[in-house]
Point group: none
Chain length 422, copies 2
Amino acid sequence: MIQPSRPETAAAEILCVGTELLLGNIVNSNARWLAEQLASLGIPHHRQEVVGDHRARLICAVQSASRRCRLLITTGGLGPTPDDLTTEAIAAAFEAPLEERAEVWADIQTKMTRRGRPPSPEVRRQALLPVGATLLPNPTGTAPGMIWTPVPGFTVLTFPGVPSEMKAMWSATAAPWLQQAGLAQGVFASRILRFWGVAESTLALRVEDLLAGANPTVAPYAGAGDVSLRLTAAAADQQAAEALLDPLEAEVRARLGQSCFGGDDDSLASVVLAKLRLRGQSLAVAESCTGGGLGAALAAVPGASDVFLGGVIAYANAVKQQLLAVPAELLREHGAVSDPVARAMAEGVQRLTGSTWALAVSGIAGPGGGSPDKPVGLVHLALAGPHGSSSEGVQFGASRGRSWIQTLSIGEALNRLRLALD
Amino acid sequence: MIQPSRPETAAAEILCVGTELLLGNIVNSNARWLAEQLASLGIPHHRQEVVGDHRARLICAVQSASRRCRLLITTGGLGPTPDDLTTEAIAAAFEAPLEERAEVWADIQTKMTRRGRPPSPEVRRQALLPVGATLLPNPTGTAPGMIWTPVPGFTVLTFPGVPSEMKAMWSATAAPWLQQAGLAQGVFASRILRFWGVAESTLALRVEDLLAGANPTVAPYAGAGDVSLRLTAAAADQQAAEALLDPLEAEVRARLGQSCFGGDDDSLASVVLAKLRLRGQSLAVAESCTGGGLGAALAAVPGASDVFLGGVIAYANAVKQQLLAVPAELLREHGAVSDPVARAMAEGVQRLTGSTWALAVSGIAGPGGGSPDKPVGLVHLALAGPHGSSSEGVQFGASRGRSWIQTLSIGEALNRLRLALD
């Protein structure tokens, strides 16, 4: 084996403790939240680990971390039950004795009594902290954490696994302490730019030279159909970090043009709704294979109702005929999945609702219903506007599966309208 | 420092690769899913780790894992961009050269061409695997994984970070391989029982005695509105494991009654569609605040079209009047979010489509639009059937936010129809 370079020691690590995480019973939302907090404080963070409620493995994880990083954040394992072992294991990792803190035991008794529960002997374990550790108070729960520097250059902060308690303790005590202790190094600012209609690999190629930058950095990632770039800058303060990002964002937008549909919390639906709102125009939908998903994407955006009127879910052909007045001949001659029918659907719902614009989707989401002529993944997308209508067939590929084909159809339909509004 | 005991080497570890996880941009749902799969295969799993897209740290993580465990599952970092480093780093960790696999490159070209995108040189990187590694095919995406035993007693399986691709690869190739390779120890059989209309804490209380069992085990977990119990049994073979689960499932079902709507891959929508299919009956929907999400939940189920006809998205009041013939007086007198209007919507769409059953949803998903009389979170749900219609108001609570209120409305509407069909 080759020897890897020793990782930087200045960084932070997160250690989440809990067998329920290893069994897949719950998703590790604490790690995500802590990661965001560390990033916003400008504390570089290179590693997360999850271990179960197991004394030897906990000791091993803490000792390893102490050799790699300056700051270890732990969550979980501070409760009163026998499988809550975090404090005890951390103390054992550095051969420090535990001692009961009178003020903690008093606080636990007060909280238990207020909840109408007698303070049990099990709960008293939570008042034990290693000698030399500083209390990290828990304003809402009975399990306090600690701030402890057991060896020079290595500090551990412990939090309970209950998200609300962890967050309250972080904001009240841990974040200010990290800033005061000089562990927060400036700030990181981050922006997301979102794209549609460009593959992740193509996008990366267009910004290849920028991907190599050290500060600010550019990193691509892919969702279901949409692709994003994350721009991140480190600086002494927020303003300086944003100033590093401004020219970079302008450069990326100039290179990628219309395929960039927005940033941060934008979705294709929110962007389309905002453009229509500015124009004072309205939108309706007629959906076959997406079954209402296009409407739901629009309705997911708060305040959609001043633009989005509604529409028709024309899943069955009879509904296409009866509600949208799609002529029976068109259905017979071209089939439901065709440009003429998609156009007739869009025009039909535009007429019915009086909307300025209308989108229609008719396709084969699979897994059944395909034919050599019209395979699974073929979707026809129509747009009716103030000056007429158009439709186009798109082949998303059968291999992507029903749910992804539906998601892509919704995004592609919204993107067509977005481009028409540019 | 004391020497911790060496952790067992028989176990598996999960390594998730991606700077977006360290920055807290996304939650690590892949780790949870993989943890569940390992548990269901009876593969003990003691550790999860997250590292960024960083070559040296990746090499270090893989080497450390190879000294601790028999099986390492990685996700992420298999894409075409320069920061996708997983395959390369794993090869470097064991000083193995990479080689291009002709069949992978051919498959990538086919998939790209089918999607109308020229295969770029960057994508070709994805055809590189270490010498000696076995291909772990990716049926839907262009990034394949590998199954590789670089040193005796240590095997690594790689997956892309895109959840749908990872899951498809796991089910098609990885899970059967793990069973064949004897890494799955004995057999774990697992069943999920799904519930609606009961809180997780209530459910746990009703099966409290069963939660303490060692084999089979019962574990509760909660989604958005639905709650599940996972029943797991370990035994020498599948039949013996299932035999342990049968009486347990019967006991749980007897205790929880109608609140159990199904198991495993069932959804409320799939259960309702199956019940209607058996009766030869059809369903239509009329949606206001869910904007099409109820229809989309039904259309998400393959083969929905023989039961689900479609419906009307009546987001604007004008659409409620014009398409569903909701009388203007009803809207004036009671407001759109009311039992009379919800009933008129359900009856309207039933009449329009000729469906046997119709569901209607009208509510205030927020964050705006609430009033003291009709606060955010108030939703009226109506059901029209062969023998008349009914409607009821439900208060989901403003604090849950728009998306959750929409999800709960969809589930609650489907659940009402399910109970009506019992």
